[in-house]
């Protein structure tokens, strides 16, 4: 168990619950989701409670995260997209904080399970589809019909566009999940090398320095990936929302 790189992703039921044959137990994953949301909300509420004209250090951190997401959304979906700001901001903060919590030893990484990331991306695509039809009516389907295509090719191109559209939530969720999973496994494997090599005596300890250096470097990389993936997820959310707002011109 000590050296099993997959063990860190195991779900444990903390409070077994079963309603109507459906298992809705409170697991360690649920616990860390709750912790993530609580920590994010608590930090933002605490940081902005001062409401200073000249922000304190924590307040400017909260303002920075607001500005960062707001400008991302304005660039990606125009100022009309700002009505989706609460959603994009919540998604970004949740993923970012969950990823960063995952970097603590012995913490569970919520975003390393594909069902979690898939639920998040389905939330995004569901919003895009529902709002797109609500705002543009049937005109939303123009998204799948490129202009200036010969009528003969139309069915083929529409089919391809539809597949391309449906593949979005999948690639969105797989990207986040695969990055977190792969990163944490690599980290664990290299850290495991240090332990097993140093068990080989003096020479082993000498060689163990190499994977140790690698582990340190990978930890830095993982922090970068944790932020980058939250950023990529939010940016793509903005792009897809742009499709819902302006399907075609």
């Amino acid at each position: 168990m000590a050296n099993d790189p997959i063990h860190q992703f195991q779900l444990n039921k903390l409070i077994p619950l079963d309603i109507g044959g459906t298992d809705i137990s409170f697991t360690n994953s649920s616990l860390f989701m709750v912790v993530t949301v609580a920590a994010t909300a608590a930090f933002l509420i605490w940081a902005t409670s001062g409401r200073g004209l000249i922000p304190s250090r924590t307040q400017s951190l909260a303002e920075m995260s607001y500005e960062f997401v707001a400008s991302m959304l304005r660039d990606g979906a125009g100022s009309e997209g700002m009505k989706f700001f609460p959603m994009v901001f919540s998604l970004f903060m949740f993923i970012l904080v969950a990823n960063l919590f995952g970097m603590f030893p012995y913490f569970f990484t919520v975003t390393s399970h594909i069902i979690v990331t898939f639920a998040l991306s389905m939330l995004v695509i569901g919003t895009v589809v529902v709002y797109g039809f609500y705002k543009n009516g049937i005109g939303f389907l123009k998204l799948f019909v490129p202009s200036g295509i010969p009528a003969v090719l139309m069915p083929l191109v529409i089919m391809i566009e539809v597949i391309s559209f449906i593949s979005r939530p999948i690639s969105l969720s797989v990207r986040l999940f695969a990055n977190m999973l792969a990163g944490h496994i690599t980290l664990k494997v290299f850290a495991g090398f240090v332990v097993s090599l140093s068990g080989l005596g003096a020479a082993g300890i000498g060689i163990a320095i190499l994977p140790l250096i690698m582990t340190v470097a990978l930890t830095g990389l993982e922090f970068l990936v944790a932020f980058l993936q939250a950023y990529v997820f939010a940016v793509l959310t903005c792009m897809y929302l742009n499709d819902a707002l302006h399907p075609s011109h």
């Binding site: 089919m159 593949s167 695969a178 980058l228």
Partner: protein, 136 residues
């Protein structure tokens, strides 16, 4: 009295300085916006994962849709074969699109509708020029 006058003067002075600072801030914000445009400076590993996930997911979706059609209509292998191939096509298009190789083969409007970053912006007038140099 004199003291008060001095205070007024200082107040006025400060107001002027504040206005000047505000103007400076506004202009620097403008240039910041230009400077801080994402230069698509993603590390190679992230880029690779992004493209491969887009490619693979399109193939999987194509095969999935084909399988669904097959099981609904009973045309066992055919729909899946056709949709798998279309999935490959969609995957290649996804990759070309996200790498910017296929910006707009048909018309500008299409690429804008697809969310190609450099071509959108119907609402933000005057910012279009920011996107001109931002190509991958």
């Amino acid at each position: 009295m004199k003291n008060n006058n001095e205070k007024d003067l200082a107040d006025k002075n400060r107001k002027e300085r504040l206005a000047a600072l505000e103007a400076k801030l506004a202009s620097s914000r403008q240039t910041d916006l230009i400077k801080n445009m994402p230069k698509t400076g993603k590390p190679g590993f992230g880029n690779a994962l992004k493209m491969s996930s887009e490619f693979i997911s399109a193939i999987l979706v194509g095969a999935g849709i084909g399988y669904l059609i097959d099981s609904l209509t009973g045309t066992r292998p055919w729909a899946m074969i056709v949709m798998l191939l279309l999935g490959f096509v969609a995957g290649v298009i996804n990759v070309l699109r996200s790498s910017g190789e296929m910006a707009d083969p048909y018309q500008r409007g299409w690429a804008a509708a697809k969310g190609d970053k450099k071509d959108q912006k119907p609402t933000d007038k005057g910012r279009d020029d920011l996107y001109d140099d931002e190509d991958e």
